[in-house]
């Protein structure tokens, strides 16, 4: 017996429902695939860049961004464990007068050749003698030359401090030709021309033959000053991967929810379709089709939709990834991998996994309806009508309540491997629990509905009360998508609002001035600080120094910010109570609590200027800028402890009668054109929020997808229902209802079903939003935020969704109503 046309053909007969299920799966798979492909590309590109930079190094000595004493190099190079040591002074440098920055490596080419030969500069044919050592030469990678529109022989101006230095491009770096930001110079020249005499930022070590990196690492670490660590070269790649991992996992889970919705749509379509085909199945069973075969064929229907969705999904996913890389960059706009140009690579295994996920969603969606259909007793089904057999009924309210309780418990689970597993579990429990509770909620709402109004409305209400199963199938799709969209909206609104407030608190001054964004090479020296304070119209100027610290091996560096601080921390966005002490204090960001376990009131040892200094943790502040942790210290304390007199930024309070524009112009004129950047806090805030919005562009996209999926669920359910209810519509026509009235009834039904879904979805979404804020964000990014519910947009969204659902129900039912009433009633008799 050829059964394929009977079963798989049924997919074609209910085109709309199949199409929506298919689209939902495509979207879920495509988003997941895109996120995966983009990050894989970015990480592999990032890792490749790091490998070029690390070369044959077995170990790397790293320290704070400001560097460490160069004598560490002499010390390590003379050790028997070390075959070759390559000293590096790395700076971020800014092309004078522009926003372009480059990664400048000051190297000793003699040592470089034996550790990281890929970084060896190659003088152009026209370069002069000793160009690789010359104090006026710089080597730019081929891609950097192209990006800057320069070639060998040209000159380029860089900013050093607030001065401008002119260098000649003497050649390229053939081993790192694709690196768009790489520049190499002799280390002595970088030290002298960028005022870093005596400093190194990294030493690459190649170990002597037979020396194990582990043993050498501990032996050498003991020789190093505080804050200077020995790492394996992979550590930096791991840190980058970890840094972006939480972001990546969050996006992937959003895609998973889309996929879940797709599976759910398959479920609703199959459930209704199975009901319609009860008689058909009864015949087949009576003709001898085994129960298992029927089950298998029905699963195959779901599998087919899932497989098709999976295949199209991965194709679309790669397309999306390609587009995202071109438009947003490797971090989807989140800023983790600036300056990279990742190339998309096709990964067969990963792609297969995503196709399989689509397939799985299809099969899972078809499972329950298939099992129900297979359990039908043929004789009974042949006799009875089909409506009574719709799934649903009262659902599983106790299980639902249990799941909600479990979600509360899951929130208490600490992060596993730095991932908020508990948070994700809680979200899943919340969704599943609300779906289970939905029938009970629908029944409750039906009881509350007034027994008045036009006949179409009363019919719709009666139907919801009598056969909630119909509505529940449609409402569950709406619930899932509304919950997702509402949760995202609440989380993003809270985040944005908190960031905005935080920016207000952090930027209280009238003007901000900085020596470019390249903080290692652009700074304000003491003379300039004095001149800034003396500018006419400047009432008060306070300065900020940025550095970072290495506190633990394998962990990303922690930002160190030195600026004038009030003793009680009142000029910081504090979280919780401060405990100012007597001695020098530090104020730590929330990430320091999570990552290093520091507590307020504790005394911690910080490696400042190569020595450990005991400092009192006076309080915790909120920091949305650095998820790897930040430490704030009073500028006077910092200067006393380190002797570092340079600063990077200045905050300017204007005198009462001063004109901001005029003062800004006077400040800018203190250095050459394009060297000092002066901004008003409003501009900085606007820029920050613009970056914020770009980061969340992907989540906005997901919200839109969620809405489409929800509407698709309503339309698909009603299309299937309407087809199943042709006899009912015929009967209603016989009883004297006009087509218009039946249309209104359908609209009411759609609105009611959607209304139930939206109401439940908003509740579930609110709860999920809280989980996202309190658990997922806190554990992923280590920052807290204040709850901010966008009531107006949620209300607008809910109302719009109900109206659209009504419209979808009417459109779906129209075809069924078109049929002749008499014919419809006669149909099966």
């Amino acid at each position: 017996m050829r059964l394929a046309p009977v079963f798989l053909g049924s997919l074609a007969r209910r085109r709309m429902a199949t199409l929506f299920s298919f689209i939902a799966i495509v979207l879920g798979v495509a988003l997941g695939m895109a996120v995966q492909a983009v990050h894989e590309a970015a990480l592999s590109e990032f890792g490749r860049g790091l490998r070029t930079l690390a070369g044959a190094a077995d170990l790397q000595v790293v320290g704070p961004r400001g560097g460490f004493d160069e004598n560490v190099y002499a010390l390590l190079a003379s050790r028997p464990e070390v075959a070759e040591a390559s000293p590096v002074l790395e700076l971020e440098i800014k092309r004078a007068g522009t926003e372009e920055t480059l990664q400048l490596l000051g190297v000793d080419i003699f040592a470089l050749a034996r550790v990281t030969p890929a970084l060896l500069p190659k003088p152009a044919a026209t370069a002069e003698r000793f160009a690789t050592l010359a104090d006026d030469s710089v080597f730019l990678s081929g891609a950097a030359q192209t990006a800057l529109g320069l070639k060998a022989g040209d000159t380029i101006d860089f900013q050093a401090g607030t001065r401008r230095i002119t260098l000649k491009i003497a050649g390229d770096i053939p081993g790192a030709a694709e690196n768009r930001r790489l520049a190499v110079m002799d280390i002595a020249v970088v030290q002298s021309r960028f005022d870093r005499i005596g400093r190194l930022t990294r030493i690459d070590l190649r170990l002597a033959e037979g020396v194990m990196p582990g043993a050498a690492r501990s032996a050498l670490q003991a020789l190093l000053p505080a804050g200077v660590l020995i790492e394996v070269p992979e550590a930096a790649a791991d840190q980058a991967a970890n840094l972006s991992r939480a972001y990546r996992v969050n996006l992937t889970l959003l895609a998973a929810i889309a996929l879940l919705t797709g599976g759910f749509l398959v479920f609703s379509a199959q459930a209704l379709s199975v009901v319609r085909r009860r008689t058909e199945f009864a015949f087949l069973r009576a003709l001898g089709l085994a129960r298992r075969s029927l089950f298998g064929w029905l699963l195959a229907e779901g599998a087919m939709v899932g497989l098709a969705g999976g295949v199209v999904g991965v194709v679309l996913g790669h397309g999306l990834a390609w587009g995202a890389l071109a438009v947003l960059g490797g971090d989807l706009g989140a800023g983790y991998f600036s300056g990279l140009t990742p190339v998309l690579k096709f990964q067969p295994q990963v792609t297969a996994v995503y196709v399989a996920l689509g397939l799985l969603a299809g099969i899972a969606g078809a499972w329950l309806p298939a099992r129900e259909a297979a359990t039908i007793a043929p004789a009974q089904a042949l006799k009875a009508g089909d409506e009574g057999a719709l799934p649903g009924g009262r659902g599983h309210p106790w299980l639902g309540l249990g799941l909600l309780a479990a979600s509360l418990a899951a929130c208490a689970i600490p992060p596993l491997d730095e991932l908020p597993v508990g948070g994700y579990l809680a979200v899943a429990f919340l969704l599943a629990g609300s779906v289970m509770l939905l029938p009970a909620l629908a029944a409750a709402i039906a009881r509350l509905l007034p027994d008045r109004g036009p006949v179409s409305a009363r019919l719709a209400a009666a139907r919801l009360g009598a056969a909630p199963g119909h509505a529940v199938v449609a409402a569950a799709g709406v619930l899932t998508s509304v919950a997702l969209a509402a949760a995202m909206a609440i989380m993003v609104a809270s985040f944005r609002d908190s960031v905005d407030q935080w920016l207000h608190q952090l930027l209280p001054a009238d003007l901000y001035l900085r020596a470019g964004q390249a903080r290692t090479s652009g700074y304000l020296d003491e003379a300039l600080q004095t001149r800034i304070a003396a500018v006419n119209g400047v009432d008060r100027s306070s300065f900020t120094r940025h550095d970072n610290l290495r506190l633990a091996g394998g962990k990303a560096p922690v930002a160190l910010i030195a600026r004038p601080l009030a003793a009680d921390g009142s000029n910081l966005p504090l979280v919780g109570r401060a405990q100012p002490g007597a001695g020098p204090a530090i104020w730590i960001s929330e990430a320091m609590l999570d990552l290093y376990g520091w507590r307020v009131g504790q005394t911690v040892a910080l490696p400042l200027a190569g020595k450990l200094v005991d400092l009192h943790v006076a309080g915790v502040w909120r920091d949305y800028a650095r998820q790897t942790g930040a430490i704030m210290i009073d500028l006077a304390d910092y200067r006393r402890l380190t002797g570092d007199r340079l600063v990077n930024d200045a905050a300017i309070d204007l005198a009462a009668d001063a004109d901001a524009g005029r003062v800004a112009a006077a400040l800018t004129a203190l250095a050459g054109p394009g060297v000092l950047e002066v901004a008003r806090p409003g501009e900085i805030r606007a820029l920050s929020l613009r970056i914020f919005d770009r980061t969340f562009a992907v989540t906005y996209l997901l919200e839109a997808v969620a809405i489409v999926i929800g509407l698709a669920g309503v339309a698909a359910s009603f299309a299937a229902l309407a087809a199943a209810r042709r006899r009912e519509f015929g009967m209603l026509r016989h009883l004297g209802l006009t087509r218009r009235q039946i249309g209104w009834m359908l609209a009411h039904e759609g609105a009611l079903a959607a209304g139930v879904g939206v109401a439940a979805g908003l509740l579930a979404g609110g709860a999920i939003g809280l989980v996202l804020i309190e658990v997922v964000n806190r554990q992923s990014f280590h920052w807290s935020m204040d709850l901010h519910v966008p009531w107006a947009s949620l209300a607008l969204f809910a109302a719009g969704l109900v109206a659209l659902a009504a419209l979808a129900a009417v459109l779906a039912g129209r075809q069924a109503m078109r049929q002749d009433a008499v014919l419809a009633v006669r149909e099966d008799w």
């Binding site: 040592a111 060896l120 190659k122 030290q191």
Partner: protein, 358 residues
């Protein structure tokens, strides 16, 4: 003498002499300056370039002969003279080492380079002492010690001189062209008795032999029109020693030549350019680089006619990866009247491209 200047390009200086900037005043080589020892055994950092160049024949324990080469260069770059950075590359130390083993049929060679500072490389000015990484060449009392280690080979040799230095040219003032501006201070220490150990293929063994040391310093680059040079330093069996070189133009013709012969009694005879002739007899083509080198020579010094025969044909040293320079430096036998009368080293440069100096 510029014969080895090109090696100064080591470590990736693609160079053109035309672009050289003269920001510092290098010390000048002037006739009439008397060489004073032991001070002149040490480095002369005011001059642009300087080298200690030891070559010789060693007998392995099984009696088989091999050749060895140890070269330490000191280069004053003229760069970073007023740079406060401890990394300022004012002085560089570069070193080449090679073993010529007929059993292998080609050279084992390696090189090191570093800027002076942080104890990574350096030199002494009061005696011969120069090092880069764990490679060193130094004078200790009456003897020299060369200790080098590489992946493929290692050696630790004591070189003992048997008399005072042989001053080449005019009491150590050695001209390289008709223009006396192109000159160096140059003395040799021939007939060094060698003992020590050589490690080949991981197996150390005791060796003895005879070696030759050149020490030379100058500030002038190669004369215009010079394409390369040929040089020999031979310890003769009768206790005498012969040094000869010629500078070639782009044709075979010699632009300049010089020779010194120290007799066993210690007296030294210096020969004028006209008394010296180098005549290639047999060619060998390198399978790696395609460059053809003369590997058998007739050398005429006044009336005497010598024949040079190489220990093995392939003693080409390819350092293109670091310098772009390819040269031939190897062990040779000196014959007179069909009979071997001495052993030493032959150096030939400029047979591929013109040697680009510094």
């Amino acid at each position: 003498m510029e014969r080895r200047d090109f090696l100064l390009a080591l470590a990736g200086f693609a160079a053109s002499a035309a672009g050289a900037r003269e920001v510092v005043e290098f010390a000048r080589v002037l006739p009439g300056r008397k060489l004073i020892f032991p001070a002149d055994h040490g480095a002369h950092p005011d001059f642009r370039t300087e080298w200690w160049y030891a070559t010789g024949w060693l007998n392995l324990s099984e009696g088989r002969p091999i050749g060895f080469q140890t070269t330490f260069f000191r280069v004053r770059t003229g760069i970073g003279e007023d740079n406060a950075s401890a990394f300022a590359p004012r002085q560089l130390i570069l070193a080449h080492a090679a073993i010529a083993d007929p059993a292998l049929g080609r050279l084992r060679h390696d090189q090191r380079s570093a800027r002076v500072g942080f104890g990574r490389a350096g030199f002494a000015t009061d005696r011969t002492r120069v090092w880069v990484g764990d490679w060193r060449f130094e004078q200790d009392g009456g003897l020299y010690r060369a200790a080098l280690r590489s992946q493929e080979f290692a050696y630790d040799l004591n070189l003992v001189p048997n008399g005072p230095p042989m001053l080449n040219g005019l009491a150590g003032f050695s001209t390289k062209a008709s223009d006396p501006r192109h000159a160096s201070y140059y003395y040799s220490r021939p007939q060094l008795t060698v003992d020590g150990s050589v490690t080949l293929a991981g197996r150390p063994q005791q060796v003895t032999g005879q070696a030759w040391l050149d020490h030379e310093w100058s500030s002038e680059l190669l004369a215009d029109g010079a394409q390369g040079w040929d040089w020999i330093g031979i310890n003769l069996d009768d206790g005498s020693a012969l040094m000869a070189f010629r500078l070639r133009g782009d044709r075979e013709a010699a632009l300049w030549a010089a020779a010194s012969l120290r007799r066993a009694d210690g007296s030294t005879q210096i020969f004028p350019p006209a008394a010296i002739a180098f005549e290639p007899l047999r060619q060998w083509r390198s399978p790696r680089t395609g460059i053809t080198y003369p590997v058998e020579w007739r050398v005429r010094i006044e009336q005497r006619v010598f024949l040079l025969q190489v220990l093995m044909d392939d003693q080409e040293l390819d350092s293109r990866r670091s310098t772009g320079a390819i040269y031939w430096e190897g062990a040779v036998r000196l014959l007179e009247g069909g009979r071997e009368i001495g052993r030493g080293y032959l150096e030939m440069t400029g047979y591929g491209e013109r040697i680009r100096l510094g």
